[in-house]
Structures are given as structure tokens and as C-alpha cells.
């Protein structure tokens, strides 16, 4: 875990009350590692959006005379076996990475949280069925579960999204169920109940806003891990089909040319590390900033 200035001070050192949002911003921006992570994420999103304008070449155009070039001013990271510019393919790969991250986490988060909400709110057999199913999914190593689902569903980007989302979903369901179970005991929920609010209103008006913050940390971390998981599947040849430029597939393609041009594999790996690390740093920062034990202090 990243060390925070918040946790480093002995508890109770400064008792002056500071508003929640000011404290949040202060904790988030007080550490350069978290800021570094945020900068990387913003850059990633900008690069993904403006890929066609900033990339020097066409990511798919085969240009055999220019193949396997070493880095130069024309090709900053060199070219691959088909003469495609590596930098351009990295830039286009960021589009897939961003897409995978956001689609998978949105899908996993939405379905997982909804099921967790239902399980936690209604309890009883609803909870038993939903939570046992999640236990079953969690009893397998996530990557292997995702791999198997992707294989069974067949090729295609949307199938990969579904497979990854199923792998990431159980955590959200569990977290949500746990949060709802403890939050629904609060007096304001009982008050809403007494006032005759419908189940739907209680769930979405009163419960969801209160249980969401802790889940947000998980969302940020998973954005990175979804990208890592997709890269692993693409690397194995089970993810998104070639010739689409994905970082995982680029590493896979490059490993046959390690002796002549190791950069083909090394550069996309670095891109993955940088992005996953950025989401991790920001996720850790969020965790500290949202930590209720530090509320009102620092």
C-alpha cells in the first residue's frame, strides 16, 4: 500500500474539523505518486480519444520494405514484422485498453452491484441463491474462469467483454451485499420504511448513495486489472482477434522475434505496466482519502 501523509501522522494530531470534500481533495493531491497516476490515466484517455490525429502512421497498413526496423526518428519504437509502426500500434492499443477497462468494469459493476443489492436487501433465499452462485464463480482462479468463458462463447470483442465481466462481477456482488447488510440497519432506512417508501425507493434513494463510496476504490483498481486480464487473454490468442492492435497480442507477436527486435514485446508490456500501475496508485489514494476512520481529521 502506498504510504499516506494521512496515516503517517499519529491519530488525533490535528483535531480541527475540515469539510469532507476538502479533506478528500487534500489527501488525494498531497502525494505525488497519486498525482502521477492521475496524470497517466488522463494521458491514456486523451491518447485513446485522439489516436487517429496523433499517431504518425496507419496501424494496419502492411509495409514490408520497412519491416523490422530498429528505433529511429521516423519510427520511434521501430517497426514490426509487417512494417507497421510500433508506436502507432501502441497508441491504437490504448483505445482497446480504455474500452476494455470501462466496458468491463461498468458491466461487472452494474450487474454485480444490482445482484448484491437484491441479496443484501431482501436476504433469505434470494441472498442464498445469489451469494452461493457468486461463491461458485469465485472458487475458480479468475483468469481461468474468464478464459474458459471466452473460449466457450467463441471469438469476438463483445464475448471477451462478457467473459471478463463475469470474472470481475463476484467481488462487486459481495462488497455490495456486505455494505447493504450493515447499512440497512440504520435508523434512516427504518424511518423510510415506516413512512411507506417502496422497496425500489429505499434501495436506490437511500441505500445506493450511502454504500457506493467504498465500492469506488474497487472500481478504480479493477479498471487496471481488467486491462491486465484482457492483455493476458490476447496474449494467449483467446482475446480480441487480430489484426486489431491490442497490447497483449503485440507481446505475443513480438516473442517470435526476440533476437532481432526485442522491443516488439518489451514496449507493449511497459505500456501495460504503466497503465495498471497508474490505476493502482489512484485506487490506493482513493482508499486513503475515503477512509472513514480518518473522517473529520487532517
Amino acid at each position: 500500500m502506498v504510504e499516506t501523509s494521512a496515516t503517517r501522522k499519529p491519530a488525533g494530531a490535528s483535531q480541527a474539523y475540515i469539510s469532507e470534500s476538502r479533506r478528500f481533495l487534500r489527501v488525494m493531491f498531497s502525494r505525488w505518486l497519486v498525482v502521477f497516476g492521475m496524470v497517466i490515466i488522463i494521458l491514456l484517455i486523451l491518447v485513446a480519444i485522439f489516436a487517429p490525429w496523433i499517431s504518425p502512421y496507419d496501424p494496419y497498413k502492411v509495409n514490408l520494405p520497412e519491416s523490422m526496423q530498429q528505433p529511429s526518428w521516423n519510427h520511434l519504437f521501430g517497426t514490426d514484422e509487417m512494417g507497421r509502426d510500433v508506436l502507432t500500434r501502441i497508441i491504437y492499443g490504448s483505445r482497446i485498453a480504455v474500452l476494455v477497462g470501462f466496458v468491463v468494469v461498468t458491466l461487472a459493476g452494474a450487474v454485480g452491484m444490482l445482484l448484491g443489492l437484491l441479496a443484501g436487501y431482501f436476504g433469505g433465499w434470494t441472498e442464498t441463491i445469489i451469494m452461493r452462485f457468486m461463491d461458485a464463480l469465485m472458487s475458480l482462479p479468475p483468469l481461468i474462469l474468464m478464459l474458459a468463458i471466452a473460449v466457450m462463447l467463441g471469438a469476438g470483442m463483445s464475448k471477451v467483454f462478457i467473459a471478463l465481466a463475469v470474472g470481475f462481477m463476484p467481488t462487486y456482488c459481495r462488497l455490495m451485499c456486505g455494505e447493504v447488510l450493515s447499512t440497512k440497519e440504520n435508523d434512516y432506512i427504518m424511518a423510510a420504511n415506516v413512512l411507506g417508501s417502496s422497496h425500489l425507493r429505499i434501495m436506490f434513494r437511500h441505500l445506493v448513495p450511502n454504500v457506493f463510496p467504498p465500492l469506488f476504490v474497487n472500481v478504480t483498481l479493477d479498471l487496471g486489472f481488467a486491462i491486465l486480464a484482457e492483455a493476458s487473454l490476447s496474449f494467449l490468442g483467446i482475446g480480441i482477434n487480430p489484426p486489431t492492435a491490442t497490447w497483449g497480442a503485440m507481446i505475443n507477436g513480438g516473442q517470435h522475434y526476440l533476437l532481432t527486435n526485442p522491443l516488439l514485446s518489451i514496449i507493449p508490456g511497459m505500456a501495460i505496466i504503466l497503465v495498471v500501475l497508474a490505476f493502482n496508485l489512484v485506487g490506493d489514494g482513493l482508499r486513503d482519502a475515503l477512509d472513514p476512520r480518518l473522517r473529520g481529521r487532517i
Binding site: M1, V2, E3, R8, R132, D135, A136, L137, S139, L140, P141, P142, L143, I144, L145, L147, A148, I149, V151, M152, L153, G154, G224, L228, A231, S232, F235, L236, G237, I238, G248, I251, G254, Q255, L258, L259, P262, S265, I266, G269, I272, I273, L274, V276, L277, N280, L281, D284
Partner: protein
């Protein structure tokens, strides 16, 4: 839990879009051929019966016959299982011991240079793709320096030295991200424990720092870490699939990937079942280990 794993593995075959028989045989097969295979796979029976037949077969060690490789799936798995088990258990031992060691050091020397270094490593290492680490290893130590063989597998019983040399890089690639996860957990758990009252009491009794840390604090701090060991095995097995592919090691992982690429659904299904069962058994062992570490939760 193992029951749940069988359900999930069974359901996997059910989500194959369209008719799995046509998927397996291809569109050119005659209806008669399709009918024979359908009957052979038991797909003409109701789902519950299919499940019972399938699980009954597995209980007898019959995983069915691979359609692509024309071999007994059970035998394919049995041949490869020891290799995967050997590698993952070694990796588990290495990563847990190194991870706990580094995590404790980092927590005890909190704020020092070594702590910053370990924390930086832990943060970066979880972000590194296992397969990439393997490939970089092959390039640096295999191709450039020529110190280690770049692929393959030898049983430690036939040629011990060669076997070790071949295993160094796969183990390295598998354990690094795993060590990072364990370091992070150990460190935060140890920091939490050091703050407890009984640690302060032990200190104020005048016990030596070493005894306080390793006898009083560490034992308690390890409880959440032990939970993680079960998960670590799951994580390692996933990494193993990638590493076996990169280093061409004939284990269950590589079999699974090859079957996946060839669309041999039965092998994928059986592979998932075997890996899932292994993880469940590991978690069972973890539960037993709890009682040993923490007498408060000893089962009656």
C-alpha cells in the same frame, strides 16, 4: 465448494452458443454423424441427467474422450498434473516465505529506505503481466546472457541440475507478482497489529523487541495473510497457465490453452474442474492451518 466447482465447469459447456455438436464437428458433418456424437456426449438427454452422467463418469475417473486429440481426457490430465502441481507448490512456498519476510521487514522498518524500496517494488510488481516478465527473462538471461535455457521441462528425477535451470525463469515470472500481493497484505496487517494494546503491554513488560515482534505481533498478523495463501494458489495457477505457454512446459496450463485454441471443449471443461478442485482443497488446508496458528479458532 467442490460441488459448486463441478456446477460451474458443467455450465461452461452449456454456454457454447448454438449446437456444440456442430461446433465440434464443423458444418460439413452429416446429420447421422451429428446424431452419433450427440448421443455419445449424452446431449440428447435432459440437462439434469447430463450433469449426473458427467459427474458420475468423473467420479470413476472417466473424463470422456478428447474429440480433437482422440485421447482419453483423464489420461491427458493425469500425465500433466504432476508437472503443474510441482511447479505451483514450489512457487507457493517461495512466494509466501519471501513475501511474508519482506512484508515484515517493511512494516518493522517503516518509513526507512528499505520500506520505501519494498513498497515501490510491491506496487509495481502487481502491475507486471506474468507472461511479459517471462519473455523479458527469456531475452535477457536466455538469449543475451545465455545463462539459462529458454524453454522446456525436465523431471527433477532424470536430470536434477537441468530441471532446476529450466525452472528458474518460470518460477521467477510466476512468483514476482504473487510476492507483491503477499508483501502488501503482510505489511498492512503487521502495521495494524503493532498498534494493538497487547503489543504495547509486551513492550512495557520489558520484553526484547525481537520477542515482541516475532512472538507476539507476527503470529497475530499472519492470520489475514494465511487467508491470502489460498487465494495466492489460485493466482499462481492462473500465472502458471501463462508461464507454461511462454516456456513450453507440458503441464495442465498449456494443455488447457492448446485445447482452447483447438476448441476442444471437453478438455477445457475438465481442466477447469481440476484446477478449481485443487484451489478448493488448498482452501480447506488453509482453514485447517488457521487452527494451528490461532488457537482461538480451533474447531471442536
Amino acid at each position: 465448494m467442490i460441488f459448486l466447482v463441478t456446477i460451474i465447469s458443467f455450465l461452461l459447456l452449456q454456454i457454447v452458443p448454438g449446437d456444440p455438436v456442430i461446433q465440434i464437428l464443423g458444418a460439413k458433418a452429416t446429420p447421422a454423424q451429428q446424431e452419433i456424437l450427440r448421443h455419445e456426449l449424452g446431449l440428447d438427454k435432459p440437462v439434469i441427467m447430463q450433469y449426473l452422467n458427467w459427474i458420475g463418469g468423473i467420479a470413476h475417473g472417466d473424463f470422456g474422450k478428447s474429440i480433437i486429440y482422440h485421447e482419453d481426457v483423464g489420461r491427458l490430465l493425469r500425465d500433466r498434473f504432476p508437472i503443474t502441481a510441482y511447479l505451483s507448490i514450489l512457487a507457493l512456498i517461495i512466494s509466501t516465505s519471501l513475501g511474508i519476510f519482506a512484508g515484515v521487514i517493511s512494516a518493522v522498518k517503516r518509513g526507512s529506505l528499505i520500506d520505501s524500496f519494498i513498497s515501490l517494488f510491491a506496487n509495481t510488481a502487481v502491475a507486471i503481466p506474468t507472461f511479459w516478465l517471462g519473455i523479458v527473462g527469456i531475452y535477457v538471461f536466455g538469449l543475451k546472457l545465455g545463462w539459462l535455457p529458454i524453454e522446456g521441462w525436465t523431471s527433477p528425477f532424470t536430470d536434477f541440475v537441468k530441471s532446476i535451470r529450466q525452472m528458474i525463469m518460470p518460477l521467477f515470472a510466476m512468483t514476482i507478482p504473487n510476492i507483491a500481493v503477499i508483501v502488501r497484505q503482510t505489511r498492512s496487517s503487521m502495521l495494524e497489529t503493532i498498534r494493538q494494546d497487547y503489543v504495547r503491554t509486551a513492550k512495557s513488560k520489558g520484553l526484547r523487541q525481537r520477542i515482541v515482534l516475532y512472538k507476539h505481533a507476527l503470529r497475530n498478523a499472519l492470520i489475514p495473510v494465511v487467508t491470502l495463501v489460498g487465494m495466492a494458489l489460485a493466482f499462481l495457477l492462473a500465472g502458471e497457465v501463462l508461464v507454461e505457454t511462454v516456456f513450453n512446459i507440458p503441464g495442465i496450463g498449456r494443455l488447457l490453452i492448446r485445447a482452447a485454441l483447438d476448441k476442444d471443449y471437453l478438455i477445457v471443461q475438465a481442466g477447469v474442474l481440476v484446477i478449481g478442485t485443487a484451489v478448493c482443497l488448498a482452501n480447506l488446508l488453509v482453514d485447517i492451518a488457521y487452527g494451528w496458528i490461532d488457537p482461538r479458532i480451533r474447531y471442536k
